[in-house]
Symmetry: C2
Subunit: 305 residues, 2 copies
């Protein structure tokens, strides 16, 4: 196991010992590679997984597995299961709705006013005025779409393969991206990290949005070009942004992004379940695999997620 270092391991151990006392749980560096059946990892050192001949299954400690699959020696014949406990989509929906309302109600502006003890009232748009476009309509995008609709936002989506969600117009594939962007007052990026999505959130894409559009990225840091976002905010093409992901993480303490008055930074927490919930899900998956039932969210190397 390698996720969260030694301190993180102690927490995983405590929860797994309570949930599945029969499992023998060891820290990465303490285990005999030949004796490992299951590995739980976030950003393993290259080559380590390949050195485990008896490995039956790899668990990613987060929904994204790009830090695992970037290892050139990643053992592609071993099933890689993405961390998708039942509450993960809801939690992402909580975050996306918070971020959407935060942009709508200008939460960053209010926080800066509070910091200066200044009473500055203003009126703003309402949810039905803002057309939300979600890039990526997987499990998380679908839940976010339903929750945003419940708030009164008109919602549409963009996806690689067609998704049929109630009340959500889906723009499918590269050819439909322009039409998708043209009607997106607020763009929510929930795309998986693949070669095709790297750097997608940059100047060229922002130019195709309505002027003053809003941006939320809860996908992956490599999908955004941070200097482009800062420039678009300065120039007015973007009216505000909430970013949960960066490349690299954590964001450097001296990065100018921290202080931008139209940018809200959150530390990759969008869909992070408490470790207890993640441990329960892993324990449940292992019990299922031992009984012959594989979890659904297995990494597909062909798709890249």
């Amino acid at each position: 196991m390698k996720s969260g270092g030694r301190a993180g391991f102690e927490e995983w151990l405590e929860h797994l010992a309570a949930l599945a006392p029969a499992l023998r749980v060891q820290y990465w560096e303490d285990a005999d590679p030949a004796a490992v059946d299951y590995a739980l990892v976030w950003d393993p050192e290259p080559g380590r997984l390949a050195a485990m001949p008896g490995l039956r299954c790899i668990f990613g400690a987060g929904a994204g597995v790009d830090l695992i699959t970037r290892d050139p020696d990643f053992p592609r014949h071993i099933p890689l299961v993405r961390m998708t406990p039942p509450g993960a989509a809801q939690r992402m929906g909580d975050y996306v709705c918070w971020a959407a309302l935060h942009l709508l109600r200008q939460g960053r502006r209010m926080a800066l006013s509070q910091a200066r003890a200044v009473w500055e009232d203003f009126s703003c748009a309402s949810a039905p005025d803002i057309r939300v476009g979600i890039m990526g309509l997987g499990v998380m995008g679908a839940r976010a779409a339903a929750m945003l609709q419940g708030l009164g936002f008109p919602v549409h989506g963009w996806s690689r393969s067609e998704k049929r969600l109630p009340g959500v117009t889906d723009f499918v594939g590269e050819a439909a991206l322009d039409d998708f962007l043209r009607v997106s007052d607020l763009v929510v990026c929930l795309l998986p990290d693949t070669l095709a999505t790297q750097g997608i959130l940059g100047t060229a894409l922002f130019a195709r949005l309505p002027r003053g559009a809003l941006l939320i990225n809860a996908g992956r840091g490599r999908q955004q070009i941070l200097p482009d976002i800062l420039a678009a905010l300065d120039e007015g093409q973007l009216g505000g942004a909430v970013l949960d992901v960066f490349d690299p993480e954590p964001l450097a303490a001296d990065d100018p992004a921290w202080g931008h008055p139209l940018l809200t930074i959150t530390p990759h927490v969008a869909s992070l379940p408490p470790r207890r919930e993640r441990a329960a899900w892993v324990a449940g998956c292992i019990a299922g695999i031992e009984a012959g039932h594989w979890p659904e969210k297995v990494y597909n190397p062909g798709l890249g997620y």
Copy 2:
């Protein structure tokens, strides 16, 4: 007309001139009291309304009319219409959902971390874990309840007379307040400002909530005892609060509330529609009254709202 001073008046005038060119619109101090048919006011000087013998109707510039009815000479025989344009309930719902998610996702903590350029990640509860209790189930409370349910929050309410809203258990009257509070992890105050609700949000009420409960007040400032809120936050009985209203307003620049790390302050903006929308609604009401159709939301002196 008296709402927003001379500068505010110029904005009202511009919108009303465009929407209802036949109306003769004058600033409060410029009008002949004997010639006024309709008055639009937020906090009129005591006695001024009583000096208008031909007054047919008074419009409040906000949903609350307590700053109008506190005038001892307020002419009670003249209908007083509360500002409730169609979008007002949705706008309040936007605000309440933002505030609820802001407390859930610890938006204040993240804003303070961003201000120090500190990357501090943490996991937190999810909407289905937090039982929301809404005090006041009028038009605004009902819309907020539906939107909160759409986010996955379990929602119940407390009201003077029984309200039947889908999926919302209603606790009715003073006798049910204890039972209501006991199951409220997050309390949302949307009560009207009456003698019975003044000072209700204080230490005695907080003590009946689950430890670490969260508070949103988007009702009226007189309903809360601000030093009690700060003490409950310091002591841990309250885990966080978002306050949109104060007494008096604006909140004094040297008030210690501004700097509290668990308290988010917003400047009475919860359901403030843009002036254009409010002007359109007033113009529509006047056209209706002239045609014999009175608006629904007329102040009831017996109820106090």
